[in-house]
């Protein structure tokens, strides 16, 4: 062997090293990158399903209306008609699914305050008052009906 290809072993060694490097890269990549990565974009496609599988805590108004038609009826035409049930009653998916039979009622002393206590910045159209001045410590439901907010 002479001329250009005199020291071809060096080139072979380099090529071998290069090939080994690529092979190691491919193996590491195969181990590190999830199979569904890049299916829809630069992310793991399976993450969409995992995030969507999170359990629900708020059942939604439609679930309440399936059984509690009487309450829906009472609220018709009142100012609370469009307020969703779980705004005041809290998260009740466990009740809607049948796991909790009687979830109890909201505390009549505190349930109205978040929306109807006097607050700086609240729009003027929102009915609001100083609870202490208005009725002392008496719970609101002594006089008001929560589902159709009129005086009893």
């Amino acid at each position: 062997m002479s001329g250009k290809f005199r020291n071809y072993e060096h080139v072979l060694r380099m090529a071998g090293l290069f090939g080994a490097g690529i092979a190691i890269f491919l193996v590491v990549r195969w181990i590190m990158v999830p199979a569904d990565f890049g299916l829809y974009g630069f992310y793991r496609a399976g993450a969409l399903k995992e995030i969507a599988a999170q359990p629900i805590t708020y059942a939604g108004r439609d679930a309440c209306a399936e059984c509690h038609t009487d309450v829906i009826e009472v609220r018709k035409g009142t100012r609370h008609e469009k307020v969703n049930c779980e705004s005041c009653h809290g998260p009740l998916a466990t009740h809607a699914s049948g796991d909790v039979a009687n979830p109890g009622k909201p505390d009549p002393k505190t349930v109205c305050a978040p929306c109807h206590a006097k607050m700086t910045g609240r729009p003027k159209t929102q009915p609001q008052l100083d609870f202490k001045d208005h009725a002392g410590d008496a719970p609101c439901i002594d006089c008001h009906k929560p589902h159709s907010p009129k005086v009893k």
Binding site: A47, Y58, G60, R122, P123
Partner: protein, 258 residues
Amino acid sequence: MSADASPDRREFLKDSGRWILLTGAATLAWDFVVQGAPEQAPNYNATDHWWGMIIDIEKCIGCGNCVRACKAENGVPMTDESFRTWVERYTILPDAPEHPIVESPNGGYDGFLDLKQHGDGAKVFFVPKICNHCAHSPCVQVCPVGATFESPDGVVLVDKERCLGCRYCVQACPYGCRYIDPRTETVDKCTLCYHRITKGLTTACCETCPTGARQLVDLKDPKDPVHEFMRTHMINVLKPQMATGSKVYYNALDGAVR
């Protein structure tokens, strides 16, 4: 495969017959249709939707229902640094319109029950904030490992399995909508209740908003009332100069809000 898991011939023929006769989606839905509950079939098609939200500042009463509902629905830590949605109270005094006073005690979780006397001329209002689910989101662009991404239906999500906790996205978000979950040391943020909207429910914050100030909208649905609302109201997004393609549209947004 164990012996009891192998399908018998009848099952195999039935299943393959279905796959040949029906389209893919119909095959997946078949069992539910036979049970008489076709609405429960997994027929959610992400490319049919483009989710966003409209927030009407004139309707927000600062009750904090959305903040409480979000924490309950998504198990957000009860620290005063972790919020997927929060409410701010802006006070604009007449002598300093460029420098509003912004307060958000515990993100508005307990409401804003302290009464403040600002005198005449002060403009006070509430601004609910949430991830803007930008169409060109800065946070997605900086993630080095593809842990945060825009889903095909326009929701910016975080893959907690891939997140390194490097905090690039926390710095990149111009709206401050991301936080580090202290339990996992990974990034967390609003998912627009992805587990709810893919099942036909609205988000927890919209579900519990008593005045309808927040509304989940599907911008790809031609029947969604959002299109009428956007035509007939003064709509703006937060920080439009950042060109993030925000999909949370505010009605009656004051120029001082940032």
